[in-house]
Structure formats: structure tokens, C-alpha cells
């Protein structure tokens, strides 16, 4: 850096004769009201943010209104008491349990795949993998999580089911097993990525503390790191379950359209989401009882996922507070 003497800027050119701000000495703008455009823009931005509240109110309003119309015709006791779901048949039954059961069974299979694989992958990525492996696998997981689920549905129906049929000869063409497995693969990156964030967030002082006491790396990870990341991993798991319950295309394509209350994953079963798709594909006139059913099922779906999401958020909030 050159050190110039004061002389180089000693004789400054005249200022303040043609002030860019204007009327410099009177400070007349001091009392100018705030610009109108600023207030308009603020109002517009606020409207944008408020629109999200409008969306929620819209969802709740629509579901509530149609569900009310549904229960005007179908008694509550039948919806929660009956064990058959046949609104599209001549002899109509409106028991929700077969749909809930189908949803639960696919979700269970999906989590049985996604949880062990996802969690192991998360532990490996955050505690053992080299930086290069992480650098490549993280974006790969991100891209996988973005693959449209209709693609996974295609995999399940046209490839996984035929493959499984060679092992299990009495596997139906539409079955819960292959839909659940595929769903598990789909959710795996979500669980892996969220759990990895939770494990990575465990302060390294905890790890160093355990290692300094002479603990092996493995026992440090399982006895110290994982318990500290428990809330975050729990949140990841619950979000995974919520995703599985709301997942539509895989089950609509590969799990079949028969609402059946059963525990046998080799059979086809209908989930709540697949039922909504089935009705939407047909030309059901609005205002009929069949039309109302999709909103009643939608309400059930919305409530279940909402409760899970709120629990997950609560757990994650605890993680954030704990790490600060």
C-alpha cells in the first residue's frame, strides 16, 4: 500500500455547491412522510405470507364441509364401527378400517425397510465416511428423494412384483408387499438425510469427551452420539411415517383396489390415498355420497399426517433448543 502524504488530498475540489441530495442545509426532507410505495409493497408481501394461512383454512374448510355432508348421510358409528368399505358397490358399507389397515400395513413394511437401512446409512455418513463420500452421497440422496413417486410405482408393479413372485409363488399381481418395499426404498433417503442432520448436529465435544475417556469409536457412537441425537432421529422417523401414510402413486399403481381388512402382505389392499385416486379416476358426479367419501377419507388422512407432523416438529424444536 502506498502511503501518500496529506497533500495529495489536501486541496479538495469544492463540495456542496451542486449537492446530489439537494437542499442540503435546510434538511427539508426530514419531515417527509414515509413513501407510499413502501407501504404498498409491505402490504403485498404481508398478503403473500398470509396466503399460507388461507391455504390451511381452505384445506380445513373444504374437508370439514364435505365431511359434514358425508356424516349427514352416514352415521358416525358406521364409519368407525363397520369393518367393510364398499361405497362404490350396490350394497354400500362405510367402515374406514379396511383403508386404514391397508395404509398401516404398507407403512409398516415401508418403515421396516427404510428405518434400519436409513439409520445405518446416516450413522455411516456422519461418523465414518470420508468427506469425499459424503460430498457425493448427500446430493445423490437429495436427487433420489426428488424422483416422482409414479416412477417408483412403475418399478413396483412391473419389476419388483414379478421378481418377488419367483420367490413367493402365491403373491398376487397387486400386493401390499411390493408396494411397501418400494415405498421403503423411496423413504429411505428422507430418513437417512434427516437423521444424518440430527447426528451431525451432536456437538463434537461430546464425542471427544467419550474418546478421551478411552471409549472405542463404536461405543462412542452408540452410547453417546446416538442417544444425544434421539429426538432428531425420532423426528425423522415420524416424518417418514407421515410421508408413507400420505404417499399415493406407489400404492395406487401396485397395491390394488380392494379394500380388505387383512394382515397378509401377499394380498392386494387399498389404502386411503389409493381410494381417493380410484374415485377420482371414475367420473363420479359431485354431490353424491361416493363423492363425499373421498373428502371424509381425505379428512382422516389429513388428521393423521397433521398429528404426526406436529409431533415431529415438536421433537425437532427440542433438538434446536438443546443445541444452542
Amino acid at each position: 500500500m502506498s502511503t501518500e502524504g496529506a497533500s495529495s488530498y489536501g486541496d479538495l475540489p469544492a463540495v456542496a455547491t451542486d449537492s446530489p441530495v439537494g437542499a442540503r442545509n435546510s434538511m427539508d426532507r426530514l419531515y417527509a412522510p414515509p413513501a407510499l410505495s413502501e407501504r404498498l409493497i409491505r402490504a403485498f408481501l404481508m398478503f403473500c405470507a398470509a396466503l399460507s394461512i388461507g391455504t390451511t383454512l381452505g384445506i380445513i374448510g373444504v374437508l370439514f364441509e364435505e365431511t359434514r355432508a358425508f356424516f349427514a348421510q352416514v352415521p358416525f358409528s358406521s364409519f368407525f364401527g363397520d369393518t367393510q368399505w364398499t361405497p362404490l358397490f350396490a350394497e354400500k358399507h362405510f367402515g374406514i378400517w379396511p383403508l386404514v389397515g391397508g395404509t398401516m400395513l404398507t407403512t409398516l413394511i415401508a418403515m421396516a425397510v427404510a428405518l434400519p437401512f436409513g439409520l445405518t446409512a446416516a450413522i455411516y455418513l456422519s461418523e465414518f465416511a470420508s468427506a469425499t463420500v459424503r460430498k457425493w452421497l448427500k446430493p445423490a440422496l437429495e436427487i433420489l428423494a426428488g424422483v416422482p413417486t409414479v416412477v417408483y410405482g412403475y418399478f413396483a408393479l412391473t419389476m419388483v412384483t414379478p421378481l418377488l413372485q419367483t420367490l413367493l409363488p402365491d403373491l398376487a399381481a397387486f400386493n401390499v408387499l411390493s408396494a411397501g418395499l418400494m415405498m421403503g426404498i423411496m423413504i429411505l433417503p428422507v430418513i437417512a438425510s434427516l437423521s444424518e442432520d440430527a447426528i451431525f448436529a451432536v456437538p463434537s465435544s461430546l464425542r471427544e469427551g467419550a474418546l478421551a475417556l478411552g471409549a472405542t469409536k463404536l461405543s462412542t457412537v452408540f452410547r453417546v452420539v446416538l442417544p444425544s441425537a434421539f429426538s432428531g432421529i425420532g423426528a425423522a422417523t415420524i416424518l417418514g411415517v407421515s410421508r408413507a401414510i400420505g404417499e399415493t402413486m406407489i400404492v395406487a399403481i401396485a397395491a390394488g383396489q380392494q379394500a380388505r381388512l387383512s394382515l397378509d402382505p401377499r394380498e392386494g389392499m387399498q389404502t386411503m390415498t389409493a381410494y381417493i385416486v380410484q374415485v377420482s379416476m371414475g367420473d363420479t358426479p359431485t354431490g353424491t355420497i361416493e363423492f363425499h367419501t373421498i373428502f371424509a377419507v381425505g379428512m382422516m388422512l389429513f388428521c393423521m399426517t397433521m398429528v404426526l407432523n406436529l409431533i415431529a416438529q415438536h421433537l425437532r424444536g427440542r433438538v434446536l433448543k438443546g443445541s444452542l
Partner: protein
């Protein structure tokens, strides 16, 4: 101190075993996916041709084409982006820059996070009731785009907020100290600094939205469309719906057509993802503040 030099053989073996299991847990699903994607790509490429891209659906699988679906997806993407991006970025700016801390702001934040977790098919039910029926848009392109825009909104808001948060507060203060109005400071200083970040997030969200099938089916998008959308009120179909339709048919020929459709859809998604990644890398290079 004699133990200082003894290697705990058991611990070493356990760690090795865990590493092996972990790698297996990563490689196994990835191999399965590679197999599935590979099989689909091979099937799909055999069917991919100019006629396929420029053809209309047909009852004969070997003649079926994808043009209306491709045009529908393109139109949906543009319309959805045009609606969701300004509103989503606007909401993010409000929440990050304007919102006074308090109950209402917290409510909006919690609400947006919850909306991101609502199953997409529920948005379809909302769109069916509000856009298709109440606002009488029918089963049109604009009804589909409005529904997808609502679905996209929470993702855009969250991604944009993250990008806005990367701009250190001192630049906002520098603008205000020069006598800038709040919005002028945001537009001239904050937004130019985080634009690549916002774009990356928005593109990634958009890539997800174009793969959505369930809400469009619920709206009642058609599965057999032999014309191109000409106006906002046109009936339409989209790539994922066409793929769903072909997959649901029993003939193997349609499954091959579905595979070709998947190749087209995944290519579009990968292109969008690649754009986002390039933007992100340029951003990371430029971070000097």
C-alpha cells in the same frame, strides 16, 4: 503402561464389522435402484423416438406418443412457476425482513412448515373444490397450475428464507444507514446477493412439483388427451399422469411406453437439478462476504 501397545482386537473387529454392514446398507438399496432404473432406461430407450415425442396417445401401444403430456407438463411448469415464485419469495421476504417477532409471525411460520408436510393428494382435494368447482375453472390447465402452485408455495418460502438468511445483517444496516427505504435496500442490496440461492431452491422445488401426479388426478386431469392445450381453460394431461395411465394398462406394450415416458420425465428433472447444482456451485465460489 504395557496396554499402550496392545491393540484391542475385539474393538477393531467390531468396528470393521460395523463398517461392512453400513456399506452394505448403503450399497444394497442403491444397487436395487440402479437395477430398476437401468431396466427402465433400457426398456424406455428402445421405445424413444421422434415419433414418440411428437405423437398423440393411441389405443395401439406401439403408436402411442407423448406430445400432449409433454406440452401439458411444460405449460403447467411455466404457469406454476409464474404464480408460486413471486408469492413464495414475497412471503419469505415478509417473514425474514418485515415480520415483527410475535405470535402471528410464529403462527405463519409453523403453518408453512405444516403445509409442507400435508400429503399432495390433499391439495388435489382442495383444488377440486375451490378451483374446479367454486371458481368454475373446470378441469383446466389453470386449475391444475393453481393447485400445484399452492403445493409448491411452502417449499419456495422455506428455500427462499434460507437464502435470505445467508446475507449478513451488516449489509442491510449499511443500506439503511445510507438513507434507503426498507424495500429499496432489499431490492438493491439483499436480493442481488442471494438471488442464486433463491433460484437454486426454487428450481429444486419446481423439479419436485412437475413430478406430482396425485393432486392432478384428484382434480380430474384427463388421461387420454388427443390435442394440445391452447388456452388456460384447455383440458390437459401431464407426463406423470400419462405414465400412470400406461402403467395401469395390462398390455406389456404400454408398459414399455410408460418406461419411455419415465425416461423423458427423469431427463427433465435431471436437467432442472443440474441447473440448480451449477447455480449452487457458482454461488459457493462467489461467497466472499
Amino acid at each position: 503402561m504395557s496396554r499402550l501397545y496392545t491393540v484391542d482386537a475385539q474393538a477393531v473387529a467390531a468396528e470393521r464389522a460395523f463398517r461392512a454392514i453400513a456399506i452394505l446398507a448403503l450399497v444394497l438399496p442403491l444397487c436395487l435402484l440402479a437395477l430398476l432404473f437401468g431396466g427402465t432406461l433400457i426398456d424406455g430407450f428402445s421405445r424413444l423416438s421422434f415419433d414418440f415425442l411428437s405423437g398423440f396417445p393411441s389405443r395401439r401401444p406401439e403408436e402411442a406418443g407423448i406430445l400432449p403430456a409433454l406440452a401439458g407438463t411444460m405449460a403447467l411448469m411455466l404457469l406454476t412457476a409464474a404464480m408460486a415464485i413471486p408469492v413464495g419469495v414475497g412471503a419469505a421476504i415478509y417473514l425474514e425482513e418485515y415480520a415483527p417477532p410475535g405470535k402471528i409471525t410464529t403462527l405463519i411460520e409453523v403453518n408453512i412448515r405444516n403445509l409442507a408436510g400435508v400429503p399432495s393428494i390433499i391439495y388435489g382435494l382442495l383444488g377440486l373444490e375451490v378451483f374446479v368447482r367454486s371458481l368454475q375453472m373446470d378441469r383446466s390447465l389453470i386449475a391444475g397450475a393453481c393447485t400445484l402452485a399452492l403445493l409448491l408455495l411452502p417449499m419456495v418460502v422455506m428455500a427462499s428464507r434460507e437464502a435470505l438468511r445467508t446475507v449478513p445483517r451488516m449489509y442491510r444496516e449499511a443500506a439503511w444507514a445510507l438513507g434507503a427505504e426498507k424495500w429499496t435496500g432489499i431490492r438493491r442490496v439483499v436480493l442481488p446477493m442471494c438471488l442464486p440461492g433463491i433460484l437454486t431452491g426454487v428450481i429444486l422445488s419446481l423439479a419436485r412439483a412437475i413430478g406430482e401426479t396425485a393432486p392432478l388426478i384428484t382434480l380430474g386431469a384427463l388421461t387420454y388427451v388427443s390435442f394440445l392445450p391452447t388456452s388456460l381453460k384447455s383440458a390437459f394431461t401431464a407426463l406423470p399422469i400419462q405414465i400412470f395411465n400406461w402403467t395401469s394398462r395390462p398390455q406389456a406394450g404400454f408398459h414399455v411406453a410408460a418406461a419411455a415416458g419415465i425416461v423423458v420425465l427423469l431427463t427433465m428433472m435431471l436437467l432442472l437439478n443440474a441447473t440448480a447444482i451449477v447455480l449452487r456451485m457458482r454461488l459457493q465460489k462467489k461467497v466472499t462476504w
